[in-house]
Structures are given as structure tokens and as C-alpha cells.
Assembly symmetry: C2
Homo-oligomer: 209 residues x 2
């Protein structure tokens, strides 16, 4: 088993933290996103959708998309459970992971990818070049700021995103907050629950790995 990775990108970071929380060490293969290696012929055979991370199994099966990779890793290394310990918890982790990804991380990507000089024609990941749309920068900011508030509300009662148990949803949210720094979206003074949670989660061995 090996993981196609990029040390500086938020998506593969989520899988690396997941592995570190499990105490699992697997070989990493660096893909140079800055030089567009993910768009080259060789990498398209690994993932035609030109994204990292990709988990390659020993029989050559390629698993892309973060949730799918983590689902497989959870089946192989069940302890500590990071995707819920029963049916309801598993649903809650999947639900929050989706919300954080689509309303948080995707909003932050909208800001970055539609503004960065190095990302012209790379407004979205994937094999097709898509021009930047400047209006998406402001829209991304509006969405991301609203979602930080949403997550702050969610963290009012529980220690972690889905309650009293650290999970994949926390990893996704942690990477979201770190990714926010790229676009100067930070936890606000008023978001005290989010700050308390972040202080706890950022001191875990997994997130510090």
C-alpha cells in the first residue's frame, strides 16, 4: 500500500493525519502539484481526475477521493475508530465531513483558486483548465466566514465536531482552519468554541505529525 501525496496540499494532509492518528506508517509518493505533475500522462493512469491523495493497494487498485480512502483505511486499521463506533456515529461523521468539505474547504478553495497568480486557468482541480472567475473570490469569503460561524455553533456543546469523540470530521475541520490561513480567513474572537476546539485539536500528535 502507498499514498500519492503532496506535502504542501490540504487534501492529502487529511489522509496523513488520519494515518498518524491510527499510528500507521505507509510509503508516500510525492506528486509535484506546483509543476503540474498531476496533469501529466503518467499520473493520469493513477487517477484520471488528476487529484491527490490516491491510495494504491498492493494489487494495484487505486482509491482516490479522501472519504473513500479513509473508509478503506478504517476497515484495515479499525482502532482507534475515526469514522464512528456505531451506525449513528458513522452517519454523523460522514455528514459533518461532507458539510466541512463542501461548505468550508470548497469555499476556501474558491477564494484561493480564483485569485492566485499561480493558479490561472486552474479554478478547479481536475483534468480541464478552467479560467478564474474573480466574483468567486468574494463569494468564497462570504461562504467560508458563514461556515466558521456554523462550526462555532456546532462546537458549543461538545468537545469535538460530532460530540465527545475525536473523528475524521475533526481532521477535516482542522485542515480547513489551517487552509483558511492561505486566504486570511481566521477564527474570529467571537468564535470562542471554535478557538477552544482548535487549541485542543492542534496539540494532538496526529495533527502535529
Amino acid at each position: 500500500m502507498k499514498l500519492y501525496d503532496c506535502a504542501t496540499a490540504p487534501s492529502p494532509q487529511r489522509v496523513r493525519i488520519f494515518l498518524a492518528e491510527k499510528g500507521v506508517d505507509i510509503p508516500l509518493v510525492a506528486v509535484n502539484l506546483r509543476e503540474g505533475e498531476q496533469l501529466g500522462e503518467a499520473f493520469r493512469k493513477i487517477n484520471p481526475d488528476c487529484t491527490v491523495p490516491v491510495l494504491e493497494l498492493d494489487d494495484g487498485t487505486m482509491i482516490s477521493e479522501i472519504f473513500a480512502i479513509c473508509l478503506y483505511l478504517e476497515s484495515q486499521y479499525p482502532e482507534p475508530a475515526l469514522m464512528g463506533r456505531n451506525s449513528v456515529e458513522r452517519a454523523m461523521v460522514a455528514m459533518w465531513n461532507t458539510k466541512i468539505e463542501q461548505n468550508g474547504i470548497a469555499a476556501l478553495a474558491e477564494i484561493l483558486r480564483n485569485r492566485a497568480k499561480g493558479m490561472q486557468d486552474r479554478a478547479l482541480t481536475g483534468p480541464i483548465n478552467l479560467a478564474q472567475i474573480p466574483q468567486l473570490v468574494a463569494r468564497g469569503r462570504t461562504r467560508a466566514e458563514a461556515f466558521f460561524d456554523r462550526l462555532d455553533d456546532q462546537l458549543r456543546d461538545g468537545a469535538y465536531v460530532t460530540g465527545d469523540q475525536f473523528s475524521m470530521a475533526d481532521i477535516t475541520a482542522y485542515v480547513m482552519v489551517e487552509f483558511g490561513e492561505w486566504s486570511k480567513i481566521a477564527i474570529k474572537d467571537s468564535q470562542t468554541n471554535l478557538q477552544r476546539w482548535y487549541d485542543t485539536v492542534s496539540k494532538r500528535p496526529g495533527t502535529m505529525a
Copy 2:
């Protein structure tokens, strides 16, 4: 258990087909998206992110986000398996479900929501009003057409999206193709694998339900 639903919307349709394929019948609660019921105070208590479907459990737990709902339903009604029969299959179903959702359905939504007169300020689902961005119409079309090709390639060798077994990924892809009709994105004559697959899948009792 009951499902907050909308008969005309593609997202809850995915869960209804999933239930029909399992032979499970649960009460449906109609949410009037056309009149904005999802944005009202009452529905925000059910799902603050203002989307359907939402599955309400008997203890009041609310599960939103389609994959999370299906994960829970699969745990309660394991047969027939629609999310994979082993770890690798489960990862493949999750992987393809994500790709179809993010590269297919989201692209089609980009076309529709940034153009429809009835969706001004509703360029995305969710509690915040976001203005339409006309450039996203063309971008959505480019992305959706490319993804129909991608799926056609994937269906070259197998009867179904992930191979020889019908799964949730097929349900998501079927709803995507139907949703494409709203924006005049149809299967092309050249996409013979996609057409063959669609002819098979559209005759299932579940998709005809």
C-alpha cells in the same frame, strides 16, 4: 424514521431510489422548496444548512447529506448491499459517488442555478443568498460534458459504475443523467457505454419507483 423530501428535486430522489431498491417504505414529509420552506425557521431546526433530504430517526436524531443518510440506511437494511460487499467495493462506491456528485451533479447545478429565473440569489443551496454568476453557466456545461465522457469511459468494461454490481454509485449517476435534462445536457450518440448502462438502469423497479 421519516424522510424530509421534495418530489421534484434530484437530491432526495437519490435516497428514495436507494430505499426502493432495498424494498423499504418509510414516511415522507414534503418540503416545498419552490416556496422556500427549507429557508424558514421551522426547517432550520431540522437542518440549519437548509437542504433536503434529511432522515429523522425515532429518537429525533437528524441525518442530513445524502451519503450519510445512505450509510445509515445500509446499516439498518443491509440487503441488497448498495454500498459494496467488502472493504474495496465500499471504497469504490464511495469514490465514484463522490466523483459523480462533485464533477457531474455539481456541474449541472452550476448551469441551472446560475441561469434559472426562479433561482436568482440562490446560486448555491444553503442558508445564505448568493447572486448568480453568469460565467458559471458555461463553466458548468464544460464540466458536465467532460464528466459524461469520463463516465462513458468508466462504463466501457463493466455493467455498472463500479463493476458487475449495481450500487449507490449507479443511483447517483442515474439521477445525474436525469438532472442533465433540465439543462439540456444529454447522453451523446458517441457515449455508447453510458447509453447502454442508462437503458439498463432506467428499467429497474427502483429507478421507476
